[in-house]
Symmetry: C2
Subunit: 228 residues, 2 copies
Amino acid sequence: MTGPEPEDLTARARIRDAALRHFGEHGFDRATIRGIAETAGVSSGLVRHHFGSKQGLREACDDYLLKAVRRLNDEARTHRMPETNPVAASMAALGPYRPYMARALAGGWAAPLFDEMVRMSEEWLAEADQRRPDPPFSDLRARATVTTAMGLSVMVLYQHVSRGLGVDLFTPEGAHLLAVTLLDVYSHPALSPEEAVSLRDALDKISHSSTQEGRGAALRRFEEHHDD
Amino acid sequence: MTGPEPEDLTARARIRDAALRHFGEHGFDRATIRGIAETAGVSSGLVRHHFGSKQGLREACDDYLLKAVRRLNDEARTHRMPETNPVAASMAALGPYRPYMARALAGGWAAPLFDEMVRMSEEWLAEADQRRPDPPFSDLRARATVTTAMGLSVMVLYQHVSRGLGVDLFTPEGAHLLAVTLLDVYSHPALSPEEAVSLRDALDKISHSSTQEGRGAALRRFEEHHDD
DNA sequence: CGACCGACTACACAAGTGTGTAGCGTCTTG
DNA sequence: CAAGACGCTACACACTTGTGTAGTCGGTCG
């Protein structure tokens, strides 16, 4: 039905699937190699045999997910549906992997995955720009990045959004409510084009007189060290 | 600005601040009580003495951050600035706590914090609705939830957005570029109101029959091509 | 057949971590 | 003044976890 049964998969594939589940449910740190091995029905040593280390196992999961996103993107391009946001389409199709993707993206180590989605959004935005009366005054890449992040927000903050909507997002009712809400939000801008232009000009004036200097320095000091 | 309060000089406050930093930088699991104690300049036993357990320490951080958000909201309400998104304002003001907030929200355990921001967005949206020609066709709470999640996305996915924009978000240049991009996105809807209404009607029809068809088909195609 | 290689398992080990316990110094209070 | 409360430290224990090592089994190829 929805794919090959667990018994039909290679042990390596079973381990990867189990890792995708455990990493998604408990996080990378709390998930244990022994637990993953138990779910996959193998010994813990086999996990190390196939993937070298826990880190290697995570990278294998990332690669698998990246390939899945690329495949879905290619499929969507062949029989493309107009008026369809590819980010939302990927979200729906990758539902089972949502917990892992959310943690990977929020943890900041799934850069290729995010960049691939930005690329998809760029194509979508480039088409939308052609149907727009006034030309955009911001970079295409920048808008694709921001809209991608916004589209992924409901995936990353899934639990909060589900609680706010009062229904689980990955049920038919929740998906419908989310879609209707998104339609309303996406069709009713918070600002008029004139307001946006005037505010942009105001921002340009402000940024020319460097007032953000103190705060920027303090934050840079705070963020000077990176994870991993 | 909001300078350090007298109670922040106590060892307990130093421990909490160190925990906010360590939890934000390394995550809750990878952060250690000993490391937090060392940063705070105290013994590891004192952490337990004050907060009971590692979990208690995290809850204290959550409470502190929630109070900070409430305080900022109250301040913004006294001298409120029109045309200002409170979520974005909170983001800027809570910059130093961004790593912790991102992990807390993405981890799903900062429900009161998210709900407080939803409440703030509700007030902001209620005002925006009065300046809108056509009445919204979706629930206020639902729109507030979705817009809150979207506003927080650049905070949660900060590293990816910074990489996509090509500049760190918490520098003056990055903040300016983000602001300009957000103005463009917020002022140019992806859909016209008429398209939104027609699409909503189409969604209603679909949801009355079988909703999961599209997603199930896409997922099936994906798993057919990949069975190892 | 015999050597070999990959899949796979069992077991041990060192390191790290949260937590428990005992104790010391100081300040307040009856 | 005595005594307890509180802030605070030092130390050890039990447990988990990733990783390393040795060995078994089955199929394959020269």
